[in-house]
Amino acid sequence: MSGASTTQAISRSFGELDWPARIAGLVGALSLIAAFAAFIVEPGAVVFPALVFVAVALYGWFAHQAETARSLTFLATASTLVILGVITVYLFVKAVPILRQMGASLLTSAVWDVHGGRYGLVTMMWGTLVTTIIATLVSAPLGVAGAVFISEIAPKSVREAVKPAIELLAGIPSIVYGYIGFVVINSYMMDLFRLPTNGSLFIVGLVIGVMALPTVVSVSEDALNAVPNAMKDGSVALGSTDWQTTKSVSVPAAISGISAAVILGVGRALGETMAATVILANVTQLPEPLYDVFGNTITLTSAIASQYGVAAGRPTQLSALFAAGVVLFVVVLALSVVSQTIERRMQQTLGGDQ
């Protein structure tokens, strides 16, 4: 494995150094490890190893710049991996107590009983599932249609204005959507659709879908744009219309990128927190009947956001929230792996003709 060869390369370049440099390298590495350890055990003491490290790094930079640069970038990689690893591991570790207590019923029970100390995630998972489905139904077809418009239909001048505008709109913070949803859409829906309560999964799904739209449009447009013009020309020169070309050549050739865009949109919808938190009333109860999308429930994300303050004093509840985080993390990671695999395949199919 290349990790091993990396280590070898490091030790080889280490061997080429003179004595002071070797000692400096060793001291630097040790001090950094000490700093990490100190942060976990005794945060106040971080400053000493950190100072040592800075001193060593400065010495290295002036005495052996190339080696120092290499070591520093390696350390940056290692630190990044350690940080990301700590986040992941910590998430899982903190979820263990509730899993011990509830066992499999953590994932099969809809009970969320703070006083009885019994927690099941089904209600939240249902809420997340429903909002994600609604959001995907909004963002996927409309997003792909928008991408087709920008890349295949719109004249050049329109395309050059609309594409950056859509990218810009992808940046609207979710709390702004949430605020609009909370202040305007909630009362609108109560008024016009006579909803009994403030907020519903339907509104959240809709808002999240609109929120994810620009991302889906922009990423699928990139995929459509990557289809070589020569391929489209070949279709048009056979006397097919532009629309037939889009349907039979461009979209099939870009389908991996488009699916990656849709998956990205699904990921966004899954993880969207603020809009759900402020629009929903966060009732920890399944809607009755289950398919009542106008009902008021809670999602995994809004459960964490709305409860982790109060859960601070109750370790089991906090642990249950970590379990919700783990569920989210696992699903999102799976989606991300799937979309990366698809994208890699796309590069292979399209790479063949270039």
């Binding site: 050049k156 391929m231 020169a237 056979l238 006397g239 219309t241 099939p252 003709d353």
Partner: protein, 291 residues
């Protein structure tokens, strides 16, 4: 320099001389007649007032140094230049009694009747079979979809027949007949180019524009393509761009020579162009002194 000499000896202007060189009388109908065609890419002019008549059911070769506008000219003949944002075309191209640059021209119908094979192969990322039947499918001539099958209007036999005929026509059948369902992107460059020729044949156009169809082929495949072109000329009008002088001499009935700057310098019977070129520049180009 040599032009200057011509000019002084005959006392004619350069323009008149060139018009003479371009004058080409042929018997029969012309399939395409180009009149004062200018093409601009942004502010750069790629073709300078080209006028020529392409006789029908014959092979017309376009030769000239790289970058002189042969591909550009070819793309004008079925309005593929419409698809380049920067390109602007002025002048007329008459086909079937109509100027193809008129507003009410049906581009789909036009391109069905004037087919094109591109300079670099561009097969679709689909199976070989689907590549061939793509055009007829889009024109509704072949339908093997679910509904057609249910209604008993399935054209799979026609499709098989068409695929075989076109692949044989493009000298590709023997190599791929046992893997028609493989992805066309898995073919070699030369095979891909022949597939593109077969794909164009499947639409059976009146005019076939070929942009260096043999540039990526080995000698055997090349000679097959050459045979094919000569065969095609019995029914189709073929306009072919080539860098290979011998090829142009072998297969074409008439040759047009473009030179750098996008001008058509000489146009006439292939034999006459190669054996007795009027212009010194063309002679230099053909004998390899220049270009």
């Amino acid at each position: 320099m040599s032009q200057m000499e011509t000019q002084t000896t005959t006392g004619e202007t350069e323009e008149q001389i060139r018009d003479e060189w371009l004058e080409y009388d042929f018997e029969g109908e012309s399939a395409l007649s180009v009149e004062d065609l200018d093409v601009f890419y942004g502010n750069d002019q790629a073709l300078q007032s080209i006028s020529m008549d392409v006789p029908e059911k014959s092979v017309t070769a376009l030769i000239g140094p790289s970058g002189c506008g042969k591909s550009t000219f070819l793309r004008c003949l079925n309005r593929m230049n419409d698809r380049i944002d920067a390109a602007r075309v002025e002048g007329t191209v008459e086909f079937d009694g109509e100027n193809i640059y008129d507003d009410d021209v049906n581009l789909v119908e036009l391109r069905k009747r004037i087919g094109m094979v591109f300079q670099s192969p561009n097969p679709f990322p689909k199976s070989i079979r689907e590549n061939i039947s793509y055009g007829p499918r889009k024109h509704g001539d072949i339908d093997t979809g679910l509904v057609a099958r249910l209604l008993g209007r399935d054209d799979r036999d026609e499709e098989e027949e068409l695929v075989e005929r076109c692949l044989r026509g493009a000298a590709l059948w023997d190599e791929v007949h046992d893997r028609l369902d493989d992805n066309a992107l898995g073919l070699s460059g030369g095979q891909q180019q022949r597939l593109c020729i077969a794909r164009a044949l499947a639409v059976s156009p009146d005019v076939l524009l070929m942009d260096e169809p043999a540039s990526a082929l080995d000698p055997i495949a090349t000679s097959k393509i050459e045979d094919l072109v000569e065969e095609l000329a019995e029914e189709y009008t073929v306009v072919i761009v080539t860098h290979n002088m011998q090829q142009a001499a072998r297969i074409s009935d008439q040759t047009a020579v473009f030179l750098t700057g996008g001008e058509l310098v000489e146009y006439g019977d292939t034999d006459q162009i190669f054996e007795n070129p009027q212009s010194q520049r063309v002679e230099d180009y053909i004998t390899g002194k220049f270009g």
